[in-house]
């Protein structure tokens, strides 16, 4: 049951009706039942895995909080981390390592392979779960007494399968001090829902056709123009796909009285790679910073250790996205760029850039660097990545793949992004005159109807992670 299907909207409508008509004490049970129903609509058997991880992490956190013996606390933490990382490692990385080992021993790549289906959302809910247990271990979070509350935190359907990765204190703050959403929040939520749907179906799915067509067989359309246009199309696709999903998740949460953190802040307007990672998949960046980069030492032990930590964080962040060397290279590429920026700009690299005359140039360079990185992210294998990069820089000519109307659409979205950056039009529309709100929402829905509608919904890219 994908977010971009009529079935999902029917499901959401039923959940909202049940949620708001039920007595308050029933509501979390309704949300939990709805979340499990939603999860089971994909592959039902994986509910057992979700339940098992929920039980392990709930118990581990309780154990950590109850005992004062350091070894015992650490043992409980290790059990929890091992369970999460073990299952994540098995389901997501077993075949990757097996094929590499097979390669080392000169055996066929599938010599040790198993037929494994990746449980939906495992990368997200394990990270969310681990953050909770680690926070309890660090005494930054009280353990949750009610297992139903904890289960809801892990399984809450708007963010279960592709984030954003919500911190326990954010979620339980909303759950324990739940208040009926204000009319402003309902309007923001609805607008986000429609905006997310339009981003996914009108923009991402259209640009996906260009990127998929090119990357399916990269040798078919030689030259730098098709290569760049396909890579840019993919860059647009993945941004609107993922941020569209996130907008819908945040919008739904608002309708239910929950507040998720912002996950994207116009990343393609970033003035540097550091700035990009402050704007792209923010909840993951924050997770990696708090649970990997800072524990590794962050920037506290000199430049070389900082670069090492950046590299390690980004390499693992890359691997988190998928089990292939391409993702490792993609992570390493970003780690190297972050390290370079750190090397040349020092701590200033983390300061937000000012909007000066140079800003557009910085943004264009950053955009270009990010696009180069997407080659590794999207290409089927390392060989294809190198081939595409060669085309992008050394093979002139070729035909433009993005049709004129999609270029116009991309420019319009760029202008809207700049406007949002400077003027916060989203908020102005949400709380502005009724006619403007109605017209914008109606236009978004009309665009979905006219451009985005398909009989078979296109899955979200990040569902595979």
């Amino acid at each position: 049951m994908l977010f971009n299907t009529p079935q999902f909207f029917l499901f959401l409508a039923v959940v909202l009706i049940l949620f708001y008509t039920a007595p308050r004490s029933w509501r979390k049970y309704i949300l939990l039942a709805a979340s499990y129903f939603f999860y089971m609509s994909f592959i039902p058997k994986f509910i057992l895995l979700l339940l098992a991880l929920t039980a392990i992490d709930y118990t581990a956190a309780r154990w950590i909080a109850r005992t004062r013996v350091p070894h015992s606390r650490r043992a409980a933490l290790i059990v929890s981390l091992a369970a999460n990382l073990g299952l994540l490692g098995f389901f997501k990385y077993y075949n990757f390592f097996a094929s590499n080992i097979a390669h080392l021993f000169h055996k066929p790549s599938d010599a040790f392979a198993l037929s494994i289906i990746l449980p939906l959302g495992i990368s997200f809910h394990t990270f969310q779960s681990m953050s909770y247990v680690i926070d309890v271990y660090r005494l930054e979070q009280e353990p949750i007494a009610n297992p139903i509350d904890y289960a809801l935190y892990i399984a809450f359907f708007p963010q279960l399968v592709a984030g954003p990765i919500v911190r326990a204190r954010e979620f339980f703050g909303d759950l324990y001090h739940w208040q009926r959403p204000s009319s402003g929040d309902v309007l923001r939520g609805l607008l986000l829902l429609f905006l997310g749907l339009a981003k996914k179906m009108v923009l991402a799915d259209q640009f996906a056709q260009i990127a998929n067509g090119y990357f399916h067989d990269v040798s078919k359309l030689p030259g730098m123009v098709p290569a760049w246009s396909a890579v840019i199309a993919f860059g647009i696709q993945i941004y609107f796909d993922f941020s569209g999903y996130t907008d819908m998740a945040i919008g739904m949460a608002k309708l239910l009285g929950f507040h998720f953190p912002v996950n994207f802040r116009r990343p393609y307007l970033a003035s540097s790679i550091t700035d990009f990672w402050h704007r792209w998949h923010i909840s993951l960046s924050r997770w990696l910073r708090d649970y990997l980069y800072i524990p590794l030492g962050g920037n506290r032990h000199g430049s070389l250790r900082t670069y090492r930590n950046l590299m390690l964080t980004m390499l693992l962040g890359g691997l988190w996205h998928g089990a292939s060397w391409n993702f490792v290279v993609w992570g390493g590429y970003h780690g190297a760029l972050l390290s370079f920026e750190r090397m040349f700009r020092g701590k200033r690299s983390t300061e937000p850039a000012r909007w000066t005359v140079l800003y557009p140039l910085q943004a264009v360079i950053t955009f270009g660097l990010v696009m180069i990185g997407w080659v590794f992210f999207r290409a089927a294998n390392f060989h294809d990545s190198l081939y595409v990069l060669h085309q992008m820089f050394f093979v002139p000519h070729g035909a433009q793949l993005i049709p004129p109307w999609e270029r116009i659409l991309a420019v319009i979205t760029l202008l809207l992004a700049v406007l949002e950056e400077k003027k916060d039009w989203f908020e102005e529309i949400s709380l502005g005159p009724a006619w403007a709100y109605g017209a914008v929402c109606a236009l978004l829905l009309l665009a979905v109807e006219l451009i985005g509608f398909t009989e078979t919904a296109v899955p979200f890219v990040y569902f595979q992670f």
Partner: protein, 356 residues
């Protein structure tokens, strides 16, 4: 909050209504698409000057072989003015809505000519009531008032839902056309205007295919065809598929479908002066053996109704000759000319002399 939510509904309904429930978008639809071709035909017929009531309109599919120009320019003529709106692949459900569009008051025509492939109306695999493309033919002509009938004439529940959704949210049906429009908007608008102004003449001048199947022999008993050497392999395959396709057991589905839609057309013209003339189109390049008549077929049952004239099913048997066909189902130019003249004479015979 509620004024804003109502504003969403109001604006969406307004956008949808203005764009797709008026002529705005359908006037620039791709003329060579299913919907576009249908619209061109309907608009041309609506615009056509009708000087008197002696107008005869032939509706139908690709086997409706009437060439209006031939019979309208014959000297001496029949006294009736012939016109046609035909589109390959259409069936009586589409014709009913097409007639409603071109003749909103049911008084434009002296007669409507309606083709039948076979008065025995045998079932075949492509069940006509389940043709989703009928929605595409008619999307520009279907309004919200048709929600009570049109979707429910499909049997399949999923299809019914798709049709309801398509009729309300017409943009979902126009989607492919709209994306195509976005690729070259100026060229599309120019093409649509060009077709709107000139296509009536092209259609009126259309003369049919010049090829023929002379030399073809068919053994109906053993279901074999001997083709003359010059016939290309693709045509051979088409002819074999057309003439020897395996039919499922006849369960009366096709008859039930035709009974409903012939009935709707008859009801539409009931009490008007318009006659409904049914004919059987030439069936094949060589006459197939006659099957025993299915007495409860829709066309045979409606024959007794007032204003309905069912022509002799053998009327066009003389045209079932390889010289007059260009494939297994369709008459060529010579066949169409002969068909048109026979039809005009027969219409004149059954209607009597034209009214002054």
């Amino acid at each position: 909050m509620w004024p804003r939510i109502l504003a969403i509904i109001a604006f969406f309904a307004a956008f949808e209504g203005i764009l797709f429930h008026t002529d705005l978008y359908s006037s620039i639809i791709e003329p060579d698409s299913t919907t576009g071709y249908m619209e061109i035909q309907l608009r041309n017929e609506i615009r056509r000057t009708k000087l008197d009531h002696n107008q005869v309109l032939a509706v139908g599919h690709s086997r409706m072989a009437l060439l209006p120009r031939v019979v309208n320019e014959d000297k001496p003529g029949s006294g009736y003015t012939f016109a046609t709106i035909w589109l390959g692949g259409t069936t009586p459900r589409v014709w009913y809505y097409a007639l409603r569009a071109v003749d909103p008051n049911a008084r434009n025509y002296a007669a409507i000519v309606i083709p039948s492939d076979d008065y025995n109306e045998l079932d075949f695999d492509d069940y006509q009531s389940e043709r989703e493309r009928d929605l595409h033919y008619l999307i520009a002509r279907l309004g919200l008032r048709d929600l009570g009938e049109f979707p429910w004439t499909f049997q399949d529940k999923t299809l019914q839902w798709q049709v309801v959704r398509g009729m309300i949210l017409k943009g979902t049906i126009y989607k492919r056309d709209f994306l195509d429009f976005l690729e070259h908007p100026a060229a599309r608008i120019a093409k649509a205007h060009y077709y709107a102004s000139d296509s009536a003449g092209w259609h009126y001048d259309y003369g049919g295919a010049s090829e023929n199947l002379t030399g073809l022999e068919i053994d109906w008993l053993h279901k074999t065809i001997r083709f003359p050497d010059r016939i290309p392999a693709s045509t051979r395959r088409d002819v074999e598929d057309e003439l020897f396709s395996k039919l499922p057991p006849d369960q009366g589905r096709q008859t039930a479908y035709l009974r409903y839609w012939y009935g709707r057309i008859i009801d539409y013209y009931r009490g008007t002066g318009t006659k409904l003339i049914f004919l059987r189109v030439p069936r094949a390049p060589i006459s197939p053996p006659d099957a025993p008549p299915k007495l409860n077929s829709a066309v045979r049952q409606i024959a007794s109704q007032p204003n309905v004239i069912v022509l002799d099913e053998r009327l066009f048997n003389q045209l079932e000759h390889p010289d007059l066909f260009w494939d297994g189902w369709h008459l060529n130019h010579d066949g169409m000319v002969q068909f048109s003249r026979i039809l005009a004479a027969e219409v004149r015979r059954v209607l009597g002399p034209p009214k002054p």
